[in-house]
């Protein structure tokens, strides 16, 4: 018995150790071999096309070959270095992919092949590798923090969300693009491939993103069938005539609020929808802001005007559908049941409801259209949308950032300037019923302005402003603003510090 036990445990021990060691050993061995072979092929390839490696760190455009080949980017030897890009999903295609079928969800073989070919071309041209590291959302935040503080950033380029990208820049963790981006780059030129995030608060350009269709605009949806029945003029026409103002909006909302079956309770409201978009839209088109910079904007004239308007339609005119605090989706989707005439629209929600109606056997029983949020009294008559989405940054500590940027920009230019390959409008177009609405949606997304209150840690607009005024109705606008102002300022101080 004793012996068996002893043997068993000894066996277990050895097995555990063996497993552990083979685990480490095997993997490392594998990694190095693959890397070596790749490196070999890469150097073999680069030996032929480009001139001998320049060790000069200063990249100067050599104009001659650029004009001949129509290639603005001078080639150089990057010595087999790997450019790592930190993001939070599995990216296709990079240096580790050899065939377009590596992407299990590949749908468009043509563009996939172009992307893959582009990777091979860049590898050859610069003798480098491009690697996208899936770090996870929190992983990107942690990697930026830990690896930069530890002395050398883990990735050469990080994708960030405004929420953590801006504080990173404000705390000096990103390199200033104005200093490192070569003059011939697209970012400060035609901006076909990339676009910079320009804000005064940051004192320079630090963040950039891939160009694309301006699909991030926010706008209001309206039930055109209902308006037609009521004999109202199309808001889109009012907008083009410059008459789409708050007064008109209020007038429309009151007109749309009705008791259609005469049972004594209102069943259709003029407006209804989620407040994040409503507040954003109204403030944007009233030239105001809540949290655009280091100073809180909640108590600014333009914002208070917006809150007064909200108070007016929710509490005095009672032309807005009461906020349902228990069900976010009820606020979001009331429009598809015809319970509201105007609402805060999102492209995907429009498409979803239209598709859902179709799959249930019939189309939506009305026509929907979209229009920008109305211009307020402080407006400069321009339509804005809040900056959102994901932006790249080059962290401090990256060696030869100009070269890294150049390679990355060229990597992003896999479509060779043919933006129609990159920008597939079919999904966005399918969200709307008419092409005019698509155009309108693009127009809303063209001018972007910073306002980060929806994602500012430590500030809860819903609890401090929306609920007291609209749901509990126990606070006036000025009381709520006074109470929330210091909280917001504290949150902003912490954010920008």
């Amino acid at each position: 018995m004793k012996k068996i036990c002893k043997n068993f445990i000894a066996a277990l021990l050895t097995l555990a150790m063996l497993l552990a060691f083979t685990a480490c050993g095997k993997q490392e061995a594998k990694d190095t071999t693959t890397q070596d072979t790749k490196k070999d092929t890469a150097t073999v390839n680069t030996a032929t096309p480009t001139q001998p490696p320049e060790t000069d760190t200063d990249v100067k455009p050599t104009e001659k070959p650029a004009e001949e080949e129509n290639d603005p980017y001078p080639a150089f030897d990057f010595g087999g270095r790997t450019i790592k890009v930190g993001i939070w999903w599995d990216y296709y295609y990079t240096s580790k992919h050899t065939s377009i079928s590596d992407d299990p969800g590949m749908t468009n073989a043509e563009t996939a092949q172009m992307r893959l070919d582009n990777v091979r071309r860049i590898e050859k041209k610069y003798n480098c590798k491009i690697e996208y590291v899936n770090l996870g959302w929190n992983g990107v935040i942690e990697s930026i923090n830990t690896s930069i503080a530890a002395g050398s950033p883990e990735c050469d380029i990080y994708l960030t969300d405004i929420q953590f990208g801006i504080p990173a820049v404000a705390n000096g963790l990103a390199q200033k693009l104005d200093d490192i981006v070569p003059g011939y780059s697209d970012l400060f030129g035609a901006q076909i491939i990339l676009k910079p995030l320009v804000t005064e608060e940051l004192g320079g350009t630090y963040l950039f993103a891939e160009q694309g269709l301006p699909m991030s605009g926010i706008y209001m949806g309206y039930n055109w069938t209902m308006m037609e029945e009521l004999g109202l003029e199309d808001p889109q026409e009012l907008y083009t005539k410059g008459q789409w103002t708050w007064e008109k909006f209020r007038e429309y909302a009151i007109a749309g609020t009705r008791d259609t079956n005469n049972d004594g309770t209102i069943d259709v409201y003029g407006f209804g929808g989620i407040f994040t978009d409503l507040v954003n839209g109204l403030i944007m088109n009233n030239n105001g802001s809540i949290a655009a910079g280091k100073q809180e904007g909640l108590s600014s004239k333009a914002t208070v005007e917006v809150l007064d308007l909200i108070n007016q339609i929710y509490n005095i005119d009672k032309s807005a559908r009461p906020w349902n605090g228990d069900d976010w989706n009820d606020n979001l989707l009331a429009w598809s049941d015809g319970k509201v005439m105007m609402w805060a629209a999102q492209a995907w929600a429009l498409k979803q409801e239209a598709d859902a109606a179709l799959s249930a056997g019939s189309e939506l029983p009305f026509e929907y259209r979209i229009v920008p949020y109305p211009f307020g009294p402080s407006s400069d008559k321009k339509v804005y949308s809040p900056v959102s989405g994901n932006w790249y940054m080059i962290p401090v500590g990256v060696k030869e950032p100009s070269k890294v940027f150049q390679i990355f920009e060229e990597f992003m230019n896999w479509h060779k300037g043919d933006t129609s390959l990159r920008d597939d409008p079919s999904w966005f177009e399918s969200c709307f019923q008419r092409i005019e609405d698509v155009e309108m949606a693009y127009e809303c997304g063209r001018n972007l302005k910073m306002d980060i209150w929806t994602s500012l840690p430590g500030f809860d607009f819903g609890a401090t402003i929306w609920w007291p005024i609209v749901v509990n109705k126990d606070t006036t606008v000025s009381q709520a603003v006074e109470a929330a102002k210091p909280v917001l300022q504290d949150a902003l101080d912490a954010f920008w510090e």
Partner: protein, 329 residues
């Protein structure tokens, strides 16, 4: 007293005894029925609380796009689909990633059991200087908020070296990141994921075991190492199984170290799960978050299943564990 009298008495005693046992039997039967009703109510209630969200996730994973927006659909999809599973399977690269992950967590768990039980035994049965303070340090390792150790650990494994040997040989310090090696090393040195807790569990278990077992072994001439491996570890089977279960699950579910050591997503299934939605959104171009969420639900179901199967198998040993330690005790 003649024999008949004795028989008579005996019969009478027998009767009363029978009577008493009958009464107590009915009483205990009522009791046990009440107990089982009570038990059923409590367990059903608690199970409902726990299962609510899980059932929701599983049923949602079969939803098609039209179901999610149909307000009349509750729990049972009208147009059930396997599309979410197909997508989750592809994007998780399920079988490959699962294989890697299991190899990883099983080997880590074996190391945890071995190392932590050893350290726990050391703390439970031996006296040495500063024992109390050192054991306090074990607790500190689990109390310390994880983010406090991030930077030093990152630096350590980024420029890994043992007394300058590696630098002397290769001219550069090793970078152990982007792999699982740092985790193996930390586990080997008893400072892996929640190792402190496992050490603590083992220590308490060993302290709870009767000393007679070891004393008998000592008298037989067995050394402390043999006593530990051959006798104590076997007797601590319930603790071993408990730690195995926790270690497997926590390591499986761990995101902190996976991120810190930037383990490749293709090796850690749960890590990949956490990026599944973004992958579906950006690589598959599913922009509607409620639709891409369905794939996440399918992914969660796929990720939960294997670990539940393992737990199911291990909990059988739980029961066997009783009998074994029962005999010894």
């Amino acid at each position: 007293m003649n024999i008949r009298d004795v028989r008579f008495f005996y019969g009478k005693i027998n009767e009363t005894v029978h009577d008493i046992t009958f009464r107590s039997r009915t009483l205990s039967r009522v009791k046990s029925i009440l107990l089982s009703i009570f038990r059923t109510v409590i367990i059903t209630g608690m199970s409902y609380i726990i299962l609510g969200p899980v059932i929701n996730i599983v049923s949602n994973s079969f939803f098609s796009g039209s179901d999610i927006y149909n307000p009349s659909v509750f729990m049972v999809p009208l147009n059930p689909t396997l599309e979410n599973y197909r997508r989750a399977f592809a994007r998780l690269d399920y079988w490959n990633t699962l294989g890697y992950t299991f190899f990883y967590i099983v080997s880590i768990t074996m190391m945890q059991i071995l190392i932590c039980s050893m350290v726990g035994y050391g703390f439970a049965r031996f006296d040495f200087p500063f024992k109390k303070i050192l054991f306090g340090c074990v607790i500190v390792t689990i109390v310390l908020p994880a983010h406090v150790i991030m930077l030093p650990l990152y630096q350590h494994f980024r420029n890994w070296d043992i007394l300058g040997i590696i630098e002397a040989v290769t001219g550069d310090m090793g970078n152990l990141l982007s792999g699982e090696t740092p985790m193996y090393l930390m586990t080997l040195f008893g400072t892996g994921l929640r190792s402190g807790l496992f050490i603590y569990i083992f220590r308490q278990f060993f302290r709870g075991l009767p000393k007679e077992i070891e004393e008998a072994a000592l008298i037989d001439g067995a050394g402390p190492w043999y006593t530990y491996f051959g006798i104590m570890l076997v007797n601590a089977m319930p603790a071993v199984i408990t730690v195995a279960v926790f270690s497997l699950v926590w390591q499986y579910n761990d995101m902190f170290y996976a991120r810190l050591f930037s383990m490749p997503a293709s090796h850690i299934l749960t890590f990949r799960l956490s990026t599944l939605q973004a992958t579906v959104e950006f690589a598959d171009q599913v922009k509607d978050p409620l639709i891409s969420q369905l794939a996440v639900y399918a992914g969660i179901t796929l990720v939960l299943l294997p670990i539940l199967v393992i737990y199911f198998m291990l909990q059988k040993y739980f029961v066997e564990g009783i009998e074994r330690s029962g005999i010894v005790g």
